[in-house]
Symmetry: C2
Subunit: 270 residues, 2 copies
Amino acid sequence: MNGLHNGYLCGMSKPLILVSNDDGITSRGIRFLVDIMKKMGEVVVVAPDRPQSGMGHAITIGETLRLEEEDLIDDVKAYKCSGTPADCVKLAKHYILDNRRPDLVVSGINHGANTSISILYSGTMSAALEAAIEGMPAIGFSLCDYSSDADFTHIEKFVESIAKQVLNKGLPKGVALNVNFPPKRNEAIKGIKICRQARAKWQEEFDQRIDPNGRRYFWMAGNFVNFDKGEDNDEWAIANNFVSVVPCIFDLTAHHAISILNDEWDIVGE
Amino acid sequence: MNGLHNGYLCGMSKPLILVSNDDGITSRGIRFLVDIMKKMGEVVVVAPDRPQSGMGHAITIGETLRLEEEDLIDDVKAYKCSGTPADCVKLAKHYILDNRRPDLVVSGINHGANTSISILYSGTMSAALEAAIEGMPAIGFSLCDYSSDADFTHIEKFVESIAKQVLNKGLPKGVALNVNFPPKRNEAIKGIKICRQARAKWQEEFDQRIDPNGRRYFWMAGNFVNFDKGEDNDEWAIANNFVSVVPCIFDLTAHHAISILNDEWDIVGE
């Protein structure tokens, strides 16, 4: 247990597992995740009532939230929420679970990649990071396949293995996991790589059109551009048929830059 | 210029300054910021057409975006956008500026604090981080005063000083600044502190109510709880009447945790 904390201690009561996502409660990915988690503990689902991709770490302030019970899968308590993935985790903790503390929070399985910089835009990962802020072990799972009939079967044993390891060993304080899976290929997945976030970005293009009333509007589109030449990052792992596991923080301080600014700046500010 | 890069070189043409925010184009804070930036360079404003607080790093995918020219202040080009703060920066770069590269991107001045963990929920800072992803020097400014008639006059010289230093000296690669100002107090601001993000969180409470149709709804409310006992963080700086400057990254990798997971985990995954 060196360096790890907050692990679920085996031999005690059934662990409580909170499941959320950003594709919405009706997505195939969350149902697949619930089926795996049911084998490991008591599952409660709180997920958005509609797709919330690209919501980043948005929360609902200044507007009301709705929450309704939903029939998801036999014997699993499930709720749909009108808010964002981060709202779902907050509502789950403070209202639905009545301050019972989940032993694990899992989000996904997202339909599409959340590697590299996409973590910032990802609702899947904001649910996981929100749980980590609350001190709960948390994992966001994403399958790098955007197709609606994506095959999830090849990743089942990895989802189970990673969730079990986090339940048993915990995670370092203030860390959540961003887990991405390669799409189903002819070759089997080679294993798991612990990675850093690749240096990459989205290169947007805006498709300008005119609506039937003669007014201009835009669609955001774009390509993912990977600048990273390393082999220790999540983009490399997925391209080479490994599962990528990036440990993530919510302290955004550029600690290395503090001394640089102190050296260079006139900090009296006049 | 040790450790710094991408600074605007004095003596060349007038710098191009992009201004955005999350309170919307009609807010007092953005007008105050534009007035200061006009003294330093050519200003272009692209800001949301309505308040977008709490939007985090959300982007608009799967929905259309509107963009319209707006009369903001004499001789400043200004556009209002139906999207999020991150959308505004993307649209500005790829469409409005026609790939002219801003020498500085500033966001704010936010009406309310964006210290500590609030950076994750902050639309103000997502505009700055979006610019940093694009390699532009970027600053998010927030005044720790939520009142609609908040006084901005005491921070003017600090906004100007910080923006000038970033224009002249640049910022370390991949770093944006999260700048928060104390509210107007009897005592003058003491100066600028380069800080880390304080260890704190929002402790939510959900106010449950019944609508006129008998259906349940919730308001999210809550208190900010500061656990941090240090004196090197942004919460301490604001409480002690300093301007806090936190250098921020968009690489969320918990680099220290990579070796821990490699040591502890069965990474074959079976």
